[in-house]
Amino acid sequence: MWKWLHPYAKADRAYQLCNTLLPYFAVVTVVCMIVGWVWGLAYAPADYQQKDSYRIIFIHVPSAILSMGAYSSMAIAAVIALVWQLRNAELAVIAIAPVGACVTAIALITGAAWGKPMWGAWWVWDARLTSELILLFLYLGVLSLYHAFEDKKAAGRAACILAIVGVINLPIIHFSVEWWNTLHQGATITKFDTKAIDPSMFWPLMVNIVAFAGFVGVVTLIRLKNEILQREKHRPWVRDMLERG
């Protein structure tokens, strides 16, 4: 496996891999996003308690899941960058952080817009909401730490360490609805034993989760390409490629 993986440590091979993967991610994202939004907004049945307001779930849950998923991938990339000193992994950390911050912001905004009609408040300082807000600050912290250093080697290391330390927040977010008394409702789909959601709502939700995952992939790949180009712009392969294309 190492032999197979090794070439991708080189910047130009990693760049090509991004280019190869990008169209697949793009197709999955566009198809699932359209199907998921139309299905969720127009065809899924209304909730018996929350009526049509629950339709926010079709973007709230996917963005919340992906805010944590993107953070985990970022932290894994950070570990790889620190342990094996792979520069591409470090660039991946910086590529994931902005899109991770975006989906976290979406989770918070859609949560507020859902909370207002259901709880009567846009925002409450409860465990789930607060820990998710801290996740947003962690993303922003990783980014600003990286951009605060002139020396990009030190910058990468500092950003990676913060990304890894921040992993402690993930279990806190996940279990916050069980550990503390909270307004936020419990898990909907991560407990498979009890049927908390009907299939007619579960499947459009799944499609939307795939759509969000695809979107995070697309933007990460684009940004990773950018970071690689930015760092390698004086290398001959970049110029050769641009002259050919």
Partner: protein, 67 residues
């Protein structure tokens, strides 16, 4: 289809404002990050090309000065 008319669809059973606020801001943020990333690619491409042209010009000028 869960709604009888387009107006019903927009109204979302009275929750229209909150539902469309969510989906609208979501779309805005997603498109925002996507296009800003694509724009970065364009910017980097043109800066690399400009740098290459500049170096070529310098090389040419040096050659002419040497003759």
């Amino acid at each position: 289809m869960q709604f009888d008319s387009f107006a019903d669809f927009i109204a979302m059973g009275g929750y229209g404002f909150y539902v469309w606020l969510s989906f609208g801001s979501c779309a805005l943020i997603l498109l925002g990050i996507l296009f800003s990333s694509l724009n970065d690619t364009k910017r980097i491409f043109s800066s690399v090309k400009q740098q290459a042209l500049r170096e070529e010009r310098i090389k040419k000028a040096k050659q002419e000065a040497g003759q």
